[in-house]
């Protein structure tokens, strides 16, 4: 599946450093996203359940995300300690964590609907995008941080570059 962008998306590259990733936000309602990107993953929990691989929970970043969002500790890929349910399998994690773990995978054509994620996932989306280009579909106003907090993204709808949460607000306001 090719990710189709409406406009030429600039490659961001820091001088003298390795190419870092960019967060590309495709801001449309769910049905429009489905029409534009038919293979976007909307039901992240079911997709996660059917495609899960144990190595998805082996990285420090993955374990940090699970702990921060679900308050659960990854003891092994198939055993996670939840403060509510005790030992749980990975599919019992929240939809937001499932979405984050899918975003983390090095699958260039995988595009995830980030409206499955609460605001507490936003900083992890930005962290994942620091490492690789990340395209997400978004159908609601996700809060990426406090006013004027730095963030780097591109709103694909207009090609507008975003450097902080104020830019993000105005970029979304244009297309909402």
């Amino acid at each position: 599946m090719k990710i189709q962008a409406e406009m030429t998306i600039p490659n961001k590259q820091k001088t003298g450093e390795e190419m870092c990733g960019v967060l590309y936000i495709h801001f449309y309602d769910k049905h429009e996203l489905f029409e534009r990107y038919p293979h976007m993953i909307f039901d992240t929990t079911t997709y996660f359940k059917n495609t899960f691989r144990p190595e998805w929970l082996s990285s420090d970043l993955a374990k940090e995300m699970v702990f921060d969002v679900d308050k659960s500790v990854v003891e092994s890929p198939y055993c996670i300690m939840s403060p509510i349910f005790g030992q749980i399998a990975p599919e019992r994690l929240s939809g937001g964590v499932h979405a984050l773990l899918l975003m983390l995978q090095d699958t260039k054509e995988l595009m995830v609907w980030a409206t499955n994620c609460g605001d507490n996932c936003a900083k992890w989306i930005l962290k994942i995008a620091e490492k690789k280009d990340l395209h997400i579909g978004l159908s609601h106003y996700m809060r990426f941080g406090d006013p004027d907090e730095p963030m780097e993204a591109i709103l694909v709808n207009t090609g507008r570059e975003i450097h902080n949460t104020r830019d993000y607000f105005h970029a979304i306001a244009e297309v909402w």
Binding site: D29, I84, S94, G118, D148, I172, A173
Partner: protein
């Protein structure tokens, strides 16, 4: 359907306690807070109420609407029920779903972050948007946008109203009196247009006035707006008509007092928003008092001091009409050199 319904849901590991008060409720908030678990417990209890280890205590009849039920149209037989809906339901954006919510006579509780376009046709209240909060071992619903956060606290230089009819006329009179300006937003999406066209009125104090009973789809966006622009405030009374009904103009009316004291017990799903109900209520009560209210054409009695001091009139009051309707916030809308509003104890009303 009318009224407020308490729920207690529990399993060995987790408990929920909350009340559903209006026809449309949203549960949103962070990931990992138990939203999906709530739906799962309700689904399990529906399948087998007594032997799945889930207890549900409520006086309401309730259902869970999923994609299979929707496809089979089973939901079309539901009436006077509380319908719980998880965000996986594909039809949430459809006109059929909007029609179901509007016409079925059910309450709906929707777990979704998306401000669905279809639900813009079914305006929902900012007060009925909740996150799940864990307190003392029980998951409860906490308002994401509490009313007390969205009230005026500083004198505005500019007022922007969502309303383009009676509310705009009223606040134009308020602005003229205090030397401010008033703009009409002509609906929620255009409020932001007005602000952007004027560069967010940099350096001036702005007050946006909108009907809280219908502002739900927009609130998250505007909540972030006021975080970025501290010169902008948001005031979300239930509706302009609610402001009038809760003013001294109607405080001698027993029916109005009862409605305002406990609206959820008086407002049925016949009105798909409390804004519509308060408009109807004000029209009815004004007619009973021998006067009138029209949303498209504001009766001067609601903005000018009384002209009928020598005659019997149900809306006769002493005191500035604008102040009476603005209530506790009236001092914020006076010109700097004006005297303060008279205390309510000096207000006189003719009794009939």
């Amino acid at each position: 359907m009318v009224g407020s319904y308490e729920f207690k849901i529990s399993s060995e590991h987790i408990s929920y306690e909350f009340a559903i008060k209006r026809n449309i409720t949203f549960i949103q908030g962070d990931s990992g807070t138990g939203k999906t678990t709530l739906i799962e417990l309700l689904e399990q209890a529906l399948v087998s109420p007594s032997d799945v280890g889930v207890a549900v205590e409520t006086k309401a009849e309730w259902e869970v609407l999923d994609n299979n039920i929707w496809r089979q149209s089973v939901h079309l037989t539901w009436c006077n029920k509380i319908v719980f809906i998880d965000e996986g339901l594909w039809c949430l954006s459809s006109k059929d779903f909007a029609r179901f919510v509007k016409n079925s006579g059910n309450y709906v509780v929707i777990i979704s972050r998306e401000p669905h376009k279809s639900l813009n046709m079914l305006p929902h209240s900012t007060k009925e948007m909740y996150r799940i909060r864990y307190v003392d071992g029980i998951n409860t619903l906490e308002e994401i946008y509490p009313t007390e956060k969205f009230v005026p606290s500083q004198k505005p230089d500019i007022i922007v109203t969502e309303d383009e009819n009676a509310g705009f006329v009223f606040f134009t009179a308020v602005a003229e009196r205090s030397g401010s300006e008033c703009y009409q937003g002509k609906g929620k999406p255009n409020i932001d247009n007005v602000l952007r066209e004027n560069n967010y009125f940099s350096g001036k104090k702005i007050l946006i006035v909108a009907d809280g009973a219908a502002f739900g789809p927009q609130i998250k966006f505007f909540n972030n707006l006021i975080e970025l622009y501290p010169n902008i405030q948001l005031w979300l009374p239930e509706s302009f008509e609610y402001l009038i009904l809760s003013s001294p103009l109607f405080d001698s009316t027993k029916e109005v007092r009862e409605i305002l004291a406990n609206p959820s017990h008086k407002i049925s799903t016949e009105y798909f928003s409390w804004e519509r109900f308060f408009t109807w209520c004000l029209k009815q009560e004004a007619a009973k008092q021998g006067t009138w209210y029209n949303k498209n054409n504001l009766n001067v009695c609601y903005k000018r001091d009384c002209c009928c001091k020598d005659k019997q009139c149900a809306l006769y009051t002493e005191g500035d009409k604008l102040d009476l309707i603005l209530g506790a916030y009236a001092p914020l809308f006076r010109a700097d050199n004006e005297t303060k509003m008279k205390p309510e104890s000096t207000l006189k009303r003719l009794s009939f």
